[in-house]
Structure formats: C-alpha cells, structure tokens
Amino acid sequence: MNIIMILYYVITAGLVLLLGWNFLRERKSANDLILGLLVLVPLVLRLLRVK
C-alpha cells in the first residue's frame, strides 16, 4: 500500500470519528441518528478493507 492510499484511510478514519462524535452528541433528532449510522456503514467497511 502506498503512502497516498494510507492517507485515504486516515481521511476516512477522520470522517468516521467526526460522524461518530456527532452521533454520540445528538439529543434531538432520531432522523439524524439513523442518517449518521447509514453514512458510517460503508466508511467502516472500507476501513476494515471488506469492500
């Protein structure tokens, strides 16, 4: 894996952290909780190198 590809995993991990943080802090909207999880699924599977 070259350095640029590693940076892409770092960017993806960063976004996962931001989305996860927002999920934990969300107090008002069930809609946003579901949307947050939806967006997280492919990002997490990419980090795990599943797809």
Binding site: L7, L18, L35, L45
Partner: protein, 437 residues
C-alpha cells in the same frame, strides 16, 4: 415477468409515499422504498431473502468517493470562510467591478465554471467558490432567490463543461466511444448558456445599494488578512490538479479528497486568526449529513432496482418510445432520472439511448454532449436535488425550495431546447467534434 416487476415498482412507490406522508425525511423515504423493493423482490427470489442484507450494504458503496469529496471540500471551505478569506475576496470583487456590471457578472460566472469544469462536479464549484460568489452577487443588488438560481444553473453547466464531464465519461466508458472531441462541442454551448443565464438574472440591479453602502454592508475582513493568505490554499488545490494534467506521468494520483485536505491544511496554517478546526469539521459534517445520506440511500435504491429488474424495465420502457416522442420526452426523462438516481441515470438510460441513437445515424459524440447538458438540470429535482439544495444552502436563500426552483424556468427551458436540438441535429453539428480534435 413485467407484471411481477411492475408490482415491485408499485410497492417501492407506495413505501416512498407512505414514508413521506408520515413526515419522514426524503432520505428515510428512499430507504423505505429500497427496503420495500428488496422485500417484495424476495417473494420471487429476485434477490433471495438471504442475500438482501448484502445487497443493501453493497448498495451503500457507489458514491463513497463522492462522499469523501463532499466532506473534505466542505470542511476546506468552512475553514476559508472562518478565516475571513471569503469576506476579503468579496470586498475586493465589489471594489474592482461594482461599476462595470456586465464584466463583474461574467467574471463571477467564470469563477463558478472553473472548479466544476476541472473536476466534473458542480458541487465542487458551489463548495469551493459558491459562498463568496453568492455574497458578491448579493452585493451587486441581486436578490437571494435569483442568486440561488444563478448558482444552480451555472454550477450545473460547470459540471457539463470540458475538460471533465462525468456524464459524458460514463457514457463513453459504457459505449466504448473515445472521450475526445468534446472541447468545443460542450464548451461553446456551456459558455453561451452560462452568459445568457447570468445576464438574465443579474443585469437588472434590484437592491438600492451604491458601492460604498454595499461595501459597508459586507462583514469586515479580519486584521492581517491579505491576498496571499486567501490565495495560498486555492493555489495548493488547483496546483495539485493542474500538476497532474501537465505532468500526468510524473505526479502521483492524488484524487480530489486529498487535494481538498491539503488545501484545508494550508488554509488552517495561513489563517491570520486561530481556527477551531475540530469544532468546524464536526459542524460541517452535521450540516452535510442529509446530503451524504442521500448518496447512500440512492445507491441502495439503485442496487435493489437492478436486482429486482425494476431498473431494467424502466430502461426498456424508455427505449421503446417512438423516436419523435422520445426526443421530446428527453426534456422530462433525463432530468427526472438524474433527480432519482444522480450519475446512475447516465448508465441506466444513457448507455442504451446512445447505442440506439448511434444505430439510427445520429452522431454519438454530439448526442452525448447534448444529453450531458440536460442531466445537470436534474440535480435540482427531488428526491436527491443535490446541486439545488447546495445552491440554496450557500446562497442562504430562506424561501421554499419550490419558489427557488420556479425561478429557474427560463434558463431551464433554453438549456432543455438546446440539449434536445443538439441530439436531433447531432449529425449536422459533427464539425464541432472535428474542431475539438
């Protein structure tokens, strides 16, 4: 088979309608349609129920990279905005061009066109330069509703503009037609339509502000901000893109998300005031959430539609429309398909259409160009309305979405007629392709 697929399609539409009626968001309504379609399909083992979770999860992936682009670009622009760079640029533009209105408008149009033309994504135009251009347009006395309309139409044209037009590239890749000969074939219509749009909306000054008042109304730039500090992050961004174009074999493939990340880091480093990067990034992701989720659920919908045969049936229905009717119905089919499926529409409808046009003697390259100026219009249509929603967001227009959309009717109509005529008379316009080679 038609009957069964039709039943699944009805089930999907019904699920969408019920979800909307229950006041669920657009994203959750699309999700409901996808899940309902999958469950309906499972009755006929298309797909088998055991494979449904895999289809739903696999469907989350087609737009993963686009999501990374959106996220990194928006965080980048949030940093530039917070550092005061946007205010600085807008003040400068107003100072220089306030008294030569046509020039000011055309310069602003070119500024919107460039990022989208280079990346093929109208969203990049809006995310990178949308906010400052919107402020400048407002300072020129153009009401917010018209500003949103200008941004939407011109950003759409930017996506269609050469050198990078993703609809045309998807069609070329799918039909084995070389992606060459588009420079003038797309460039000339885009420039004419863009000029028409911005002058139609912007020529008349509706606000009462004079130059001094306009400048006073704009927020001040923070102390220490100067041209270089504003320019640096953009130089990094465009520098990386252009370097790859000039020396394609000596530079590695950076990709847009990394290019935006590098620009964001630069913006952070050169900002004259301290930026709360994490807080900004977190807020940006929260603001983007509906847009990102849209891309997820549209991919899931696409996957389920294909696995159940619904997508094939729709594609079939388009191909069997009689020719003259087909030309006319392009005005509806192309934008609506984009509204539902975004780029997926180019593959589902565009590829069979181009094969068909090619077989009846139309010029494929010009026909692709014609279709690809129609597709961006669909980015303003629900359920996705990606570019429309971004235009409203960056212009800070507060009215209803429909009132914004209605505003675009004339450029919409002119673009539609142009696109359809390009397809119909593609053989006669083949000289544009020859000029471009």
């Amino acid at each position: 088979m038609t009957l069964q697929i039709g039943a699944i399609l009805l089930l999907m539409v019904a699920a969408y309608a019920v979800a909307s009626f229950k006041k669920l968001s657009v994203e959750l309504s699309i999700l409901a349609a996808a899940v309902a379609g999958g469950l309906g399909g499972a009755f006929l083992k298309t797909p088998p129920i055991a494979e449904l979770p895999r289809h739903l999860v696999e469907g989350m992936f087609p737009y993963l990279d686009v999501m990374l682009v959106f996220s990194t670009a928006t965080i980048f622009m949030a940093l530039v905005n917070e550092s005061g760079g946007v205010n600085y640029v807008v003040r400068g533009a107003i100072r220089l061009f306030y008294n030569v209105r046509v020039v000011a408008l055309l310069v602003l149009m070119i500024i919107i066109l460039i990022p989208g033309a280079l990346t093929g994504a109208g969203s990049v135009s809006l995310l990178v330069v949308g906010a400052p251009v919107a402020l400048a347009l407002k300072a020129l006395g153009i009401p917010e509703r018209k500003v949103a309309a200008i941004l939407f139409i011109v950003a759409g044209l930017a996506a269609a503009a050469p050198p990078v037009n993703i609809w045309a590239m998807i069609l070329c890749a799918g039909t084995a037609i070389p992606y060459v000969g588009f420079t003038y074939t797309l460039g000339i219509p885009v420039l004419i339509l863009g000029t028409f749009t911005i002058l139609w909306f912007g020529l008349k000054k509706e606000g009462g502000m004079d130059k001094a008042a306009a400048l006073a109304a704009l927020p001040p730039a923070p102390p220490g901000m100067n041209g270089w500090r504003v320019l640096m992050p953009f130089l990094v961004f465009f520098g990386l893109i252009i370097a790859n174009r000039i020396w394609p074999f000596a530079t590695p493939i950076f990709g847009l998300p990394l290019e935006f990340t590098a620009a964001a880091l630069t913006a952070w480093l050169v900002s004259p005031k301290r930026l709360h990067v994490l807080k900004l990034a977190r807020e940006t992701m929260q603001r983007l959430l509906p847009l990102l989720a849209t891309m997820i659920v549209v991919g899931m919908l696409q996957q389920i539609m294909t696995a159940t045969g619904v997508r094939g049936m729709i594609s079939y229905s388009v191909i069997i429309i009689p020719l003259v009717l087909l030309f006319i119905s392009l005005a509806v089919i192309i934008p609506v398909s984009e509204g539902v499926l975004t780029y997926g529409a180019a593959a589902i409808l565009g590829i069979p259409l181009i094969w068909f046009f090619d077989s009846i003697g139309l010029h494929a390259t010009v026909a692709i160009a014609g279709l690809s100026i129609l597709w961006p219009l669909g980015d303003g249509l629900p359920p996705t309305a990606l570019i429309g929603r971004l235009s409203v967001m960056v212009s800070e227009y507060k009215g209803t979405y429909w009132s914004f959309l209605r505003q675009t009717w004339l450029p919409w109509l002119v673009i539609t007629i142009t696109g359809i005529l390009m397809v119909v008379y593609s053989a006669k316009l083949a000289f544009l392709v020859r000029w471009s080679m």
